[in-house]
């Protein structure tokens, strides 16, 4: 066994996992506040990558101006989507809302293809390029910096959720909508805020993911892996998204390098089935008790 190789693979896996975790956090934010499983998260992430590309390559903005604008655009998209598509579905069956997000994903993919074409594109290089060695082990710089940024963003999200007014309101709403409402929390605004925060996070993640592997209208498939992440971690748990993201990143990397690239998805989805059978509500998820 080549331990250096295993370490390098594990590091690369954890780096990729950090991005899964970040997108997973976005996913969990929406689920916590509105109980919507948002399958369009991959497409929102993709749109983030394209908006960034459009701002830099199309409008000629500098990278450091484009990143905040991309995140703002993500937030705006979140607000619009919540208002136009999700609010009218309030009270409908979760499946219907879930299908709405699938439809939304399809619309976004089409819009991107209409605007930028179907060919894969590459984002301008902005992540430092010097190779990183942790001891002997090599770590691709893009992955390392991507993971670092993701970790910072996640830390920010966790702190905001814990201490900020909006975060407390969101957690209160997640616990009990009625009680939160009667305590004077504007639940509708919380819904809106959670979508904005989540879509902004996803758009930011899209910039990083796009910088690593380029952007294309099919990169929404990233969302499928994120879906596995949040199911494994538990749909309503930020900690779950973190652990799930790192775990799935690790599993994919190990399966990919020791079994072959074609086993990546097989490994993660087998893990998903296993988790669903053993612990359907995820590692950290809340088990909901059903009453008649």
């Amino acid at each position: 066994m080549d331990w250096l190789y295993v370490t390098e693979v594990a590091l690369a896996g954890l780096g990729a996992g950090a991005l899964y975790a970040l997108t997973g956090v976005a996913f969990v934010l929406i689920y916590k506040a509105t109980r919507v499983v948002n399958l369009a998260i991959g497409e929102i992430l993709m749109l983030g990558g394209y908006v960034f590309f459009g701002l830099v390559a199309g409008a000629g903005l500098s990278i450091w101006a484009a990143i905040p604008l991309t995140i703002l655009a993500g937030a705006a998209l979140g607000a619009v989507v919540e208002r136009a598509l999700i609010r009218p579905m309030l009270g409908e069956s979760p499946i219907s809302v879930f299908m709405v997000t699938i439809g939304l994903g399809s619309i976004l993919a089409g819009v991107v293809e209409l605007g930028w074409g179907a060919d894969p594109l590459r984002l301008p290089e902005f992540i430092p390029n010097t190779p990183i060695f942790l001891g002997e082990a090599y770590l691709a710089p893009k992955v390392a910096y991507g993971a670092l940024v993701a970790a910072l963003l996640i830390a920010g999200a966790v702190i905001a959720l814990r201490f900020s007014r909006g975060g407390v309101a969101l957690r209160a709403t997640a616990r009990d909508q009625g009680a939160a409402y009667s305590m004077g929390i504007d639940v509708g605004r919380v819904f809106s805020l959670s979508w904005m925060a989540a879509c902004a996070t996803a758009a930011g993640a899209g910039v990083i993911v796009g910088a690593i592997g380029g952007i294309s209208p099919t990169m929404g498939i990233f969302g499928l892996s994120v879906l596995v992440v949040v199911i494994v971690g538990g749909l309503d748990s930020v900690a779950g998204a973190l652990v799930g993201g790192l775990l799935i990143g690790l599993v994919e990397a190990l399966a990919g390098s020791f079994l072959g690239g074609e086993y990546k998805l097989l490994a993660t989805f087998s893990l998903l089935i296993l988790i669903l059978m053993v612990r359907p509500y995820g590692i950290f998820g809340t088990h909901e008790i059903e009453r008649l």
């Binding site: 579905m89 299908m99 089409g110 209409l114 074609e262 087998s270 998903l272 089935i273």
Partner: protein, 346 residues
């Protein structure tokens, strides 16, 4: 104008088609289906076969999702199982096509039951996600198993009936349409039986259904089996229709397509499955036509077709869910009601 129907027996009340008018319409429909291949061009016959295959599969999904309330995003992968079964039987064993189709249905039903097992533990969204996992795993099998020809897939000879090779849409039409008609009728009748009613009870409230003495596990798996059987037979017909089966023939997006078809058509109605599958199959063709007309004005209109199709697909799902959750079947009912009540209510 019709105000109501007067029934003298329970049998009449339970009948699938309860008035003479309905029988007349049905006969007209059957007659036009028989006449269709003699008047329509090859392209339209081709489309008719494709529509029929999609109707069969959507009806199967409707049994599971529309009537039993178990959402599945694995329908396309299940069709793949049926298609591969047919292709393997046709190339390696050489059994006649009706046996192949039945075996394909049976095989897919078995696979469906295996992947339906998570439905004991999870339901709703979690089940939908479990079926995504199922379709990923099936895909892996299709692409990496020697029996299924790996990524190259399998090519197969046409079905043959009394020595006539059914190698053309206008010949296959006589296989696809009757089989689909039988399957749709079967599904319609299913919900007049105990099993079918049990499905509906589970959909409406599974815990109540259990209290009423419906064995949940058995019934849910039965629903999975039936729905997968439909998918398998539809997949088998698909295989005879295209005569090549590759792992890329049944992507996840096709599962979404079938789910969208029953949403657009109307969940939990047989008519909904038919209308939805027909509508969703024809929309891209209509779009193609429209884009074709636009070409003189917008020279690269053709290159806009695919993204527009994707957008329209998504917009149809979202639009129907928000504005017409009961789907086309409900619109159809409204039109019928209008004519029934016509002179009185305008």
């Amino acid at each position: 104008m019709r105000i109501g129907t007067f029934k003298l027996s329970y049998a009449a009340d339970e009948a699938l088609f309860d008035t003479r008018v309905q029988w007349v319409w049905l006969a007209l429909l059957a007659a036009s289906l028989v006449l269709f291949p003699f008047v329509a061009g090859p392209y339209w016959i081709y489309m008719a076969c494709l529509v029929a295959i999609n109707v069969a599969s959507a009806t199967g999904l409707n049994i599971l999702t529309g009537y039993t309330g178990l959402v599945s995003l694995g329908q396309a992968a299940f069709m793949g199982v049926g298609a591969y079964t047919v292709a393997v039987l046709e190339t390696r064993v050489g059994t006649p096509f009706f046996i192949n189709l039945l075996v394909a249905g049976g095989m897919t039903a078995a696979v469906g039951v295996v992947f339906g097992i998570p439905s004991l533990r999870v339901k709703g969204l979690y089940l939908a996600i479990a079926t995504i996992a199922a379709s990923m795993i099936l895909h892996f099998l299709f692409a990496h198993w020697d029996l299924t020809g790996g990524t190259r897939g399998l090519s197969m000879p046409p079905a043959s009936l009394f020595g006539i090779a059914l190698d053309q849409p206008h010949k296959l039409y006589w296989l696809v349409i009757p089989v689909t008609a039988l399957m749709v009728l079967g599904a319609a009748n299913l919900f007049r039986t105990r099993v079918g009613r049990a499905f509906i009870a589970i959909r409406d409230r599974d815990i109540s259904a259990e209290v009423l003495g419906i064995p949940l596990l058995q019934t849910k798996l039965m629903s999975f089996a039936l729905s997968s059987f439909y998918a398998g037979v539809a997949g088998g017909m698909w295989a005879y229709f295209f005569r090549v089966v590759t792992p890329e023939s049944f992507p996840l997006i096709n599962s979404i397509f079938y789910l969208a078809a029953i949403i657009v058509g109307g969940m939990g109605t047989i008519l909904g499955g038919i209308l939805g599958a027909t509508f969703m199959t024809l929309v891209p063709e209509v779009l193609k036509l429209v884009v074709g007309w636009l070409t003189p004005w917008i020279p690269d209109a053709l290159s806009l077709l695919a993204p527009i199709r994707t957008i329209v697909f998504g917009a149809l799902i979202v639009g129907f869910l928000i504005f017409e959750p009961q789907g086309l079947a409900e619109i159809w009912q409204r039109i019928r009601r209008f004519f029934h009540l016509w002179p009185f209510k305008t």
